[in-house]
Amino acid sequence: MPSNEAGFYQLTALLPVKTGPYKALSGEKNVPQYCNSSQSYSHHLKDYLNQLSDSFLSNIDSKSSKSGDLHLFDHTRCTHFARFVVIDQLFYNGRRRHDSLIDFFRTLAAGKDLLSKKDKIDQLESPYLLIAIDFDCHPSSTSCVQDYLSDLWPYASQELTEILHHCEGFYLPVPPRGKRFTSRTADWNAYRTVERMILSHEVETTYPFSAYFWVADKVKRWNPSTDRVSPSEFKNRWGLFGIGILPFLLVIVSLLILPFYLGSFFFNWLYEYVPPGAELSEFYQAWNRWGIIGFALSVISVILFMFAWRYFINRANQPMPQIKGVDLKSISKSLYLQGEFLEMYKRWQDHDGFSKSSIRQHFSCFLDKHQPSDIESPSLQPGKYFSIRKMS
């Protein structure tokens, strides 16, 4: 799966935003003050998102969170990157380049003015909400998004519901007349809706926003003057043959055989009109035989090609293996350990003057205090996203 690569999941979803004036989510208890009945959904959504981002910026350097603050994304410590963006309209990309000579003949034929031909301009019918979240996920998992959302849900249920409420297609089940859902059921309904919305609007992504490949992957540069080996040389030659060259050869072979087939087809058609009793020439019989073989070969090669193609696509869709130590928890832990280890070493060096007897003690204190094998804690604290909800 391209969205799931090397231990990261790159969730990208594009959801159309409702048009018309904003209506508060039914059953919302405390309608925020900023709610303005004449606001459009997209404006209201932008206001709401801005408040979330302000909460992040004001807490980015704070040493400790105030008790009672509700974390949004950092509690699970697996979110590398999260963006909620409203896209109002596509940017005009300019005219497409055409061959003016061909254009001239076309307009001449159509009897139109050369300038009357207009390019089609792509436009969005409504604003879109872009959700882009990069998070840690094991490559073998098939339910990355569901798992992530359910982890996030207890902390960000209200925010996610509110955000997605602005999007087209969001509706919560209505309880039967005269009855009310229990809060548990309402929560479950909201979760199901959010999950459905995000999954059904997900866009396949092939490149992550966050890449922590701690050493850049090798880029083999090919210098024609010095290198003899071509850059396309695969380590696995049979693999190259299987997925690259064989389908290509098959296509060539079937294209070569196709004329025989067509020729035989033509002769068969002629045969229909041959007067009865006329002798069939040897030439025709030979053609006919070749035609049948050609037809069979073409069919086989097309089938083989389809298999090769599927194999190729399947291989390409397999996630790259997980890279060790690049999940957010390991990264923040290792940065934390690097700093603390240097600190411990310096303390030992300054106070005990390289005395070998005490290094063990210092190191065991270091192990006790900082727990290198426990990536959960203690560790660096990431920047904090807090909810803008008021604690009741």
Partner: protein
């Protein structure tokens, strides 16, 4: 195609630095423009006096085989250079349509972008602050006068002293020549200030290190005695004398030389030899000379060094991406001009020194126990202390005090050997034999010709946190390398990441020197010299301030992620963000070392002060070509 510059159109200091011993004093004036008509008249007056990049007739120009017709007729007595801030160009009446084409960093100015560079605006001198419209900096004029001509006159009048350029001089001759130079400079300064006043330019004050009323910042190269230069390796006085005697016997120095002879040096206040690794770019030197100069200072690919594209340092030429960097129209206005970032950096010399001296006992212990390379004789106790201090200093910077790169001489002993060989070769070449000269020239390239990835992959010789590895990582960080790259791949590493981040440094020191020869002097001298402000007037020339100067300062000096150092700043030139400055007590630098058998021994964690340098102000300037100056003076846009 080789690039050939119109050297008569380019201002003097850009292509090659002025000799720090030939023009040892520079005065920097800041002017504010009141009336643009008058200011244009001033530009008209100053235009013929601006020094261009034409070659000066000198020993070096002979080496480079510059044809006679490209040389200046005379050796210039006075050097004048001029640069403008964005508001200065506006005040001179440059049309908005032209001004708007300049890049954002230049239009904003350094004051607005101080936060990004981790400068604390509260530390800035008032003259640099871009707050009130009354005294904004508009024009920077730098004035220098020749030392050699004054020296020649003094030698002629005394008759007993023969004139020799850039050599040590006896105290008396030196003082006389210096005072005559200052006298000459005072005259020139008066002439400039009078003319400026007549034509309505306000000379700003407050950027000087002396007092608030002086209208210029005076930068002077530091003076070193022969003894100081001999003792730079921290050897004892007896050894210096012995070495001096040896030099005399061999005839490397004249027989009447004494240890107290003086000369202008290229050292800065922390005591390091400065200005070695400047980039070399296409067209800077004559073609035949260029390839040789580019060794270690150009663009490295496939093991070959070639000069960097000229567009990295001058506007109107293709840069390393084969584009022009920025080209405000009219083309004549921007071509052959460039940008200049100027920063007055105060150096906390005594604090820096004290921090290092405090770590000397531990360092000694470390060297004794874990650095298993020392074996040569039994150095005295004094020698040992000095050795520890020198090693500490070298590891923070990446070069020994005299500029010898750690990559070539990783241990103190190897440095002493390197120095001995250097001095011997220098002495031999001074005698004039061609083979000796060639050997000397070849040996000198070692100062710049080295790589980190192939010579010191693990940072054992030159620590990752050291200043030179951070400010010019050379071939480190090449994306074609990774953990399991073999040695043949590593040796082919290229300077891909660095080519577009280079700057030309044209800085000078200001303020009185501190004697760092013994570790107690600073502590004792605190009342007299310790309090005076001293530092470096840092000048960086590049064609894109944001991509080159600002990137280097932010990403490499003020942040360590590219070198796997987290948030650590450069121990010599970095600055912490003002909000974080109070939390960080010291900057740590880890030094690894290797036993002779290749196994790792225990590292040493050194620390530097959290504020080795403090920015006292600065600005971004546009250094126009002579044609652009003419456009400005005559207002023909």
């Amino acid at each position: 195609m080789t690039t050939i510059f119109d050297r008569l159109d380019i201002q003097g200091n850009i292509l090659l630095p002025y000799g720090r011993s030939s023009y040892p004093i520079a005065r920097h004036f800041l002017f504010h423009v009141r009336d643009k008509e008058q200011a244009r008249a001033f530009l008209d007056w100053i235009l013929p006096q601006i020094t261009t990049a034409q070659y000066f007739p000198s020993k070096r120009s002979k080496q480079m085989q510059i044809p006679e017709d490209q040389l200046r007729q005379d050796y210039p007595e006075v050097l004048l250079n001029i640069a403008f801030t964005a508001s200065g160009l506006e005040a001179l009446g440059v049309p908005a349509s032209v001004l708007r084409q300049f890049p954002n960093a230049f239009l904003d100015g350094m004051w607005k972008r101080a936060e990004m560079l981790n400068d604390d605006r509260a530390d800035w001198n008032n003259a640099w602050k871009d707050q009130s419209h009354e005294n904004t900096t508009h024009i920077l004029i730098t004035q220098r006068v020749s030392f050699n001509s004054c020296l020649e006159k003094v030698c002629e009048s005394r008759k007993d002293d023969s004139f020799k350029k850039s050599d040590y001089l006896c105290q008396k001759t030196f003082d006389e020549a210096r005072s005559s130079m200052i006298q000459h400079l005072d005259q020139e300064t008066k002439r400039l200030l009078d003319q400026a006043e007549n034509l309505g330019l306000v000379a700003l004050s407050g950027h000087s290190n002396v007092d608030d009323d002086t209208k210029w910042l005076e930068c002077e190269s530091l003076v070193h005695t022969r003894l100081q230069d001999l003792a730079i390796a921290g050897i004892s006085e007896d050894e210096c004398l012995e070495m001096f005697k040896f030099q005399k016997d061999r005839g490397y120095v004249s027989s009447d030389a004494t240890l107290t002879d003086l000369r202008y040096s290229e050292y800065e206040h922390f005591g390091f030899f400065d200005g070695i690794g400047d980039p070399v770019f296409e067209g800077q030197y004559p073609t035949a000379f260029q390839a040789e100069m580019a060794q270690g200072q150009g663009h490295l690919s496939s093991g070959q060094w070639r000069p960097i594209a000229p567009g990295e340092f001058l506007l109107g030429y293709p840069n390393e991406a084969q584009e022009t960097t920025c080209h405000p129209m009219p083309y004549t206005f921007s071509r052959n001009g460039t940008f200049m970032a100027v920063r007055k950096l105060e150096q906390n010399v005594s604090e820096f020194h004290r921090t290092l001296v405090g770590q000397v006992p531990l360092m000694e212990q470390w060297l004794d126990n874990f650095e298993c390379s020392s074996s040569s004789g039994q150095p005295s106790a004094v020698g040992n202390i000095n050795k520890a201090l020198k090693v500490l200093r070298a590891k923070l910077v990446g070069r020994w005090d005299d500029g010898t790169p750690l990559v070539h001489a990783p241990t103190y002993e190897s440095w002493l050997n390197f120095r001995k060989r250097l001095l011997t070769l220098a002495g031999e070449s001074r005698k004039g034999e061609q083979s000796a000269k060639d050997a000397w020239k070849k040996f000198k390239t070692k100062f710049t010709l080295f790589t980190f990835e192939s010579d010191d992959t693990k940072g054992i010789r030159c620590p990752f946190a050291s200043h030179i590895r951070r400010s010019n990582p050379r071939d480190s960080g090449d994306p074609s390398l990774r953990k399991d790259s073999d040695s043949s791949e590593i040796s082919q590493a290229s300077s891909l990441l660095v080519n577009r981040r280079r700057i030309l440094r044209r800085g000078m020191t200001y303020g009185p020197a501190v004697d760092l020869t013994s570790e107690n002097s600073v502590l004792n001298d605190q009342n007299s010299l310790g309090d005076a402000e001293r530092g470096t007037f840092f000048v960086a020339i590049c064609s894109d301030l944001e991509r080159q100067f600002e990137f280097m300062q932010q990403q490499w000096l003020n942040y360590g992620s590219d070198f796997n150092l987290g948030n650590d700043i450069c121990p010599v030139a970095g600055a912490l963000h003002p909000s974080a400055a109070s939390d960080v007590k010291d900057i740590k630098v880890m030094m690894s070392s290797e036993r002779p058998d290749g196994s790792c021994s225990l590292p040493f964690v050194a620390k530097s002060t959290p504020r080795p340098v403090v920015c006292r102000g600065g600005a971004y300037f546009f250094v126009p070509s002579l044609s652009a100056l003419r456009l400005l003076a005559q207002n023909r846009f």
